[in-house]
Symmetry: C2
Subunit: 185 residues, 2 copies
């Protein structure tokens, strides 16, 4: 797959996370990452469209999962429940690898520029759920609001999941958060 060792991409991701944790994001150059991974700066930018993207590998998969699972949810679910089903399906993609995900989350919250990118990725999930809901026949405004609410539940639950020392599963955290959300109105 690569000119020398295999899995250049994986090595770059690992090198980046190590370096970000050691020195911080801003103090790490793309060239640093590439060097530790045994490749060139140029090949780093062939794999990742920019320096931040090295931490956001699986996001297209999550987007597609969100869309598919929202669309495939039982027909009798409310818009909000369908969107929740979509987002929950996507969340199960990361709920497993707990320590990797948490390590990554800490790096992200430590850097505004990475935080920005994460908000953007979350917005793509919202859009995916919105599109799927519209496909289900939900009117525009309601689709958008339901998708946003589901994304909110995910974001807040994820934050708590990361912060808690002895944790529930991410799924459980989401369920509890969703319950509180419903009690708001």
């Amino acid at each position: 797959m690569s000119r020398w060792e295999p899995d250049a991409r994986g090595r770059m991701i690992g090198a980046a996370m190590d370096l970000f944790a050691e020195r911080g994001f801003d103090q790490t150059t793309a060239s640093d990452i590439a060097e530790r991974a045994g490749v060139t700066e140029r090949t780093f930018f062939r794999h990742f469209s920019d320096k931040r993207e090295v931490l956001f590998g699986g996001s297209e998969v999550m987007e597609k999962t969100t869309y598919d699972a929202t669309l495939a949810a039982p027909a009798d679910l409310t818009p909000l429940d369908a969107a929740m089903a979509g987002i929950t399906a996507a969340s199960s993609l990361i709920g497993d690898r707990r320590d990797f995900t948490i390590r990554r989350a800490r790096l992200i919250t430590a850097n505004p520029s990475l935080h920005e990118r994460e908000l953007f990725k979350l917005a793509t999930l919202t859009t995916a759920a919105t599109n799927a809901l519209r496909e289900r026949g939900v009117p525009e405004l309601m689709a958008s609001l339901a998708a946003h609410c589901a994304a909110t539940v995910f974001a807040v639950a994820f934050e708590r999941w990361v912060a808690s020392a002895e944790p529930l599963s991410l799924d459980e955290e989401i369920k509890q958060t969703a319950t509180v959300l419903r009690s708001l109105l």
Copy 2:
């Protein structure tokens, strides 16, 4: 105020919006903006921490307004209503200058990197409302969820306000959107 003409900052904002509209954000260099505004590139970066910030001038004011108005809302309001009061107060800061705001919004949605920044600014409003709610004695989780919901209403309502040809006021749009949100649950 400036070495030559007054209101260098205002001229840079105007120049940036014109150039972004003419050639697009990526095809406009910071030096281009500075030149059209009659200043140096260095001066541009003294006024704006980065190239995107030229479109996000009033955001600290909106953040403070959100916090203050959420905190100052009548004590008998629910968390969601208090947060809505805060965000609505902030929205009135832009609801006036409609064509400027819409022109700006179109530039932002046309460019992912600007969109990223806008999501970040919206997140700061959410945080401001969350903090104010906590100050009101609302428990953490509920505060966070209420603030997120209020921000969602604002974001969705704003999007519709920008898209509509013959529009309601932004306030009206927010009220209608909030009603639909409540009907979701």
